[in-house]
């Protein structure tokens, strides 16, 4: 599972920053059938959480309505320099983790 993260390297304290994450995932809806007529089991990233300096700042619960290779974006306030930890899990139990650092300058 490949994921890409986009957030500024540095930000001023109190600044609103945009955080984006794109994950490569088929997001199988569970409504499709294979060539033999058997239902393809649902397999979507059901939960994604983002922690910033160990505090949860974003959580998404996704279902069949989200397209493959989802791209999520949210805004948060830059508090102190620290690490963003992205964690997600899909219906097949596969987990993914990505990390990114943010440096906050006293503004």
């Amino acid at each position: 599972m490949v994921a890409r993260i986009q957030l500024p390297k540095t930000a001023a304290r109190g600044e609103v920053i945009s955080v984006r994450i794109a994950i490569q995932h088929p997001m199988e809806t569970g409504f499709r059938f294979d060539v033999n007529g058997r239902a393809v089991p649902k397999n979507v990233i059901n939960t994604l959480t983002v922690r910033y300096n160990n505090a949860e700042v974003f959580r998404a619960e996704m279902g069949s309505g989200i397209a493959a290779n989802p791209l999520l974006q949210f805004y948060t306030v830059a508090g102190a320099s620290g690490e963003f930890v992205f964690e997600w899990i899909d219906d097949a139990g596969q987990r993914g983790t990505e990390r990114a650092m943010l440096e906050v300058q006293p503004g």
Binding site: A22, M27, A68, N69
Partner: protein, 292 residues
């Protein structure tokens, strides 16, 4: 047609007081989703084609497929983060540095930094392999390298790994103009590719030229027919929800005109790919492009 029947049934029900019976909506949906819809639509197009004036096969200035796309698709392709094809490029970058096969060599062991060593590749391919005299595209070149230098098994066409590597290699030439040169070695293949481009085939009896030259810019249902250039491939298609090779796209057109689809990596598709590259001369490489 079904709407008319439904309305008639509605009137009948009011007049007689009998319960209404509508055509099952599911049945209608099934028609809209079935290949028969395309059959009807392309069939209609087949009748209109001979009536159109013949135009030159290669427009003076080729127009990339992205110019026929809507604003949302253009925005998606222009933003490197929103472009989902970049996920495959990122994967390809990782694979570039991973040793494969019994030689325990990675691509980077010989080719070092792809951003310099692989630059111009997508603009020059497909080309003739000096050793075998056959047409090779980036996919077959990667597999050739795996077998000869890495002692690794070739990757399956359309496998995630091959798509990622191809996208990564082709991405290094982004923005460079396609410049496949016609010379004595590739001329027979170019000629054959041109022949295929002009050959009517399938139950629809349509040639590539009928849609992508004579009807380029016109509508086929909700789609605008493009000039059919391959400069964005491997490209992310929303229909596929994944990145796919140019040959996958070409096979989709074969399917569209109800012709027998040539196998991946077959001489027919390679020759056609070569002709398409020649036809797209001057267009910037867009890999990974985004298409509907």
């Amino acid at each position: 047609m079904l709407n008319v029947i439904d309305r008639w049934r509605c009137c009948w029900a009011e007049a007689t007081g009998k319960p209404q019976r509508f055509a099952k909506p599911l049945k209608r949906m099934r028609f809209l989703l079935s290949p028969w819809r395309n059959f009807c639509v392309i069939g209609c197009l087949a009748f209109t084609v001979p009536a159109l004036a013949q135009q030159a096969a290669t427009p003076a200035k080729p127009k990339s497929g992205i110019e026929f796309a809507g604003a949302d698709i253009r925005a998606m392709q222009a933003d490197d983060f929103a472009n989902p094809g970049m996920l495959w490029v990122a994967r390809g970058e990782k694979l570039w540095n991973v040793p494969a096969g019994r030689s325990n060599k990675s691509c980077a062991s010989c080719h070092q930094d792809a951003s310099s060593s692989m630059k111009t590749v997508a603009a020059r391919y497909p080309r003739i392999d000096a050793a075998t005299g056959k047409v090779i595209n980036i996919e077959t070149r990667i597999n050739g390298c795996r077998e000869r230098n890495q002692a690794a098994d070739p990757l399956q066409y359309e496998s995630e790994e091959l798509l990622a590597l191809t996208a990564y290699v082709a991405h290094q030439s982004r923005g460079m103009p396609v410049a496949v040169v016609a010379d004595a070695t590739n001329r027979p293949h170019l000629e054959r590719g041109r022949e295929i481009y002009y050959r009517r085939q399938g139950q629809m009896n349509l040639a590539c030229v009928n849609c992508h030259v004579q009807n380029a810019g016109r509508r086929l249902l909700a789609e605008t027919i493009s000039e059919g250039h391959g400069n964005a491939y491997p490209a992310y298609r929303l229909e596929w929800q994944a990145i796919g090779s140019l040959q996958r796209r070409l096979r989709a057109c074969y399917y569209g005109v109800r012709a027998v689809m040539p196998a991946f990596g077959s001489d027919e598709l390679l020759d056609l790919e070569l002709y398409l590259a020649r036809r797209a001369t001057g267009l910037a490489v867009e890999t990974p492009g985004v298409r509907r």
